[in-house]
Subunit: 424 residues, 2 copies
């Protein structure tokens, strides 16, 4: 079942207000088993509204129109629809009487400017009997068209409470069942993920999509079919195959973020983390503390942006700073160890590097980053050369540092599981 | 001059990813004096891509297409365009040779899967000579079409750095002169800004728009006319009037951010800053260091998320923590002073609060925040009660803290200027 979404408003085409309603509707309609053929955003122009509506009616099964239903002069949707579909507007008596009960606080007279809301195209059925919001439904050429207000929270309420149930009833004949999962991947390029998955020769009922969400790659798996048991089994099998193929590069699913996954691993292993940051300037700490409840496993950190901070707060030897430079393996190691000793955390991360645009040299170009990690047993330092602008280098560094913690925790978990197995 | 925007990607029509790029483009194009006739979001379907492009070419002066330019199988824009406009794809030799220099880390062979990026429709001109991103321009039927990647930060970069200047040159014949300025405001509600500006009864040629960009309010002033001298004068007068009306609530203009403005004020006054953060967890530090060159005035900070960090790194008295609690005026004061003394910075900020969703009490509900600031002369602490979710409370806290530094630096600057005047 195919639908189209048309969002109306000059505030949208001028970019003054971002269009959040179309994406919200697409997401919910897709989850309910409907596909969206196209979404359009147009200004309050009757001719264009009519054209877009008629074109959609000619090629899809239902249409959702948002915006332009208000009381002001630039709200032209109802008039445009009336003309385009040749359905004269007439007053909805129920709404009219409700509106006439609203009195102006000053004059005590009915508010006539609201009466515009009661005039709907012939055949329209209101979506909100109490007239607290605009919104109506038309059946035209045997296809449902829903008109919702553009105000996001009203639109969302009516979509969820009125449109989705009405569409489900309307198309109750369809048997389609859909399963969707998003796999979140870090550390492999999109093209390599694609190559690896191509080789799997998956079932033709499985639809795979890739999209980069910097600095990650997300892979979506969609399976639709008439037989719920069959689609569920296919989803399970495909999910297992993808996990086997991409291994630990898949860090999570659906709503997971790398920082929430690292947080969960720390919590599960009853370990605490602290971070000494230089070139990321607090970004790793910010990511960790964006998760509610992070105080259970995240102690905090030091942003040692200036060299003086590295000696004062992390105990990095001034001689090492002078002889090796702040961006060096030795300093990364000393930062991690200094953070670890003084904070008392189980694991400490350190990052030092050159985020640019200035500060690079032939030996240490912009993008050179050292990431250190220490726990009670050992300290490791890895060197990277990231490319991109300042924002990208900082983001890649933070993500890579968190991924190093994730992989280390996974390894420990795996070792513990193995030793349990051996003991039993 | 009219344009259309076409965003391509199944991840958009399924609502998995919100389309943020079209609104961004519409906003910037509108500001540059171009109107947007319609915006479309469609899936990776060649037929639909071709139809949308041809329809747009038939009715507007330029087209912007985003998405579907990547290396994977579901990136179909180039192929669809080639077919729809009857322009066979051919390799761009410059891009091809750049791509062939990228070697696979494992095999040492050129990465052939990237070569797809070098095949462009006949007549295409690349928008990014270094081939760091996809993106090209076509002139078809005398109209420019721009193809940009769907990855938001790449799309934004190319739009601002390539598309806007190219369009400006392309349509240099147009007589319309437009001046646009965005004023960035913090600390006043949108409705209050609106009320204050309404009272000014501005010239009818001045178009004022408001849009909240959390946690700020942005006010755009657009003036269009045929007489450049007249529009420039009107812009200057209106700008002066707006600044007089809204005062220091306007922290900057156009590309300014609060952190860049604070950085500039620190640089100008030759002062350094350090930050002790609790509930913001590194966000203030991250914002300060997002600015290139911030190492000249930003020393770094301590994220003392755990109480143990507050005593170890900031010297906060354990007795105060126990008697007054971590979220108290006394602890905010001790954090700022501890940071100031040990780091040797001129100014130190501190924040402690409850970002939620847990941790609130009747006396100190979620959103309770204390912000301290100290310089060599004095220490001040202010108490706030912010509302919103965890992200919003953290963001509001960081923004308010930086604004306190800004206002303090402005005051010092003003005092210095006054004393200079008196001395002269």
């Amino acid at each position: 079942m195919l639908g189209e979404i048309i969002a109306i408003g000059n505030e949208l085409t001028s970019g003054r207000i971002p269009n959040t309603t179309s994406g919200f509707a697409a997401h919910h309609l897709f989850e309910a088993g409907f596909d969206i053929y196209a979404m359009h955003t147009i200004g309050d122009t009757p001719k264009l509204i009519g054209e877009a509506l008629n074109r959609a009616l000619g090629r899809v099964d239902f249409v959702l129109v948002t915006g332009g239903l208000g009381t002001t002069d630039d709200d032209l949707t109802t008039v445009a629809v009336s003309k385009a579909l040749n359905r004269p507007t007439m007053p909805n008596l129920e709404i009219l009487s409700l509106i006439r009960k609203h009195l102006d606080g000053n004059s005590g007279q009915p508010i006539s400017s609201l009466e515009k809301l009661a005039w709907l195209p012939e055949g329209a059925e209101t979506l909100n009997a109490k007239a607290r919001m605009a919104g109506f439904q038309l059946i035209h050429d045997g296809k449902p068209i829903f008109f919702l207000p553009g105000i996001p929270h009203q639109m969302r309420t009516l979509l969820v409470e009125q449109v989705l149930p009405r569409l489900a009833t309307w198309y109750k004949g369809r048997q389609l069942n859909s399963v969707q999962q998003v796999f979140k991947i870090f550390g492999i390029a999109e093209s390599d993920v694609n190559l690896a998955v191509e080789k799997l020769a998956l079932d033709t009922d499985v639809e795979i999509g890739y999209y980069p969400v910097f600095p990650e790659v997300h892979l979506s798996m969609t399976i639709r079919g008439n037989d719920k048991k069959k689609t569920d089994k296919l989803a399970k099998d495909t999910s297992r195959l993808l996990k086997k193929t991409l291994g630990t590069a898949i860090y999570g699913k659906d709503q997971d973020t790398l920082e929430s996954v690292v947080g969960k691993l720390l919590l599960d292993s009853n370990k605490t983390l602290s971070v000494a940051e230089s070139c990321t300037g607090g970004l790793i700490s910010h990511l960790m503390t964006s998760i509610a409840g992070s105080s259970s496993y995240y102690l905090g950190g030091v942003t040692s942006y200036a060299n003086s901070m590295k000696t004062t707060y992390l105990g990095v030897d001034e001689n090492i700073l002078n002889s090796k430079g702040a961006v060096s393996k030795e300093v990364a190691k000393a930062m991690a160890q200094g953070m670890h000793q003084k904070s008392g955390s189980d694991i400490s991360l350190s990052v030092t590097g050159i985020a640019g645009p200035g500060g690079g040299s032939k030996e240490k170009p912009v993008g050179t980053v050292l990431i250190g990690m220490t726990n009670t047993k050992s300290t490791s330092v890895q060197r990277f050369l990231f490319s991109g602008n300042r924002y990208e280098i900082q983001r890649l560094t933070a993500q890579t540092a968190l991924d190093i913690v994730r992989r280390s925790l996974l390894e420990t978990k795996h070792q513990n599981n193995s030793s349990h197995l051996m003991a039993s």
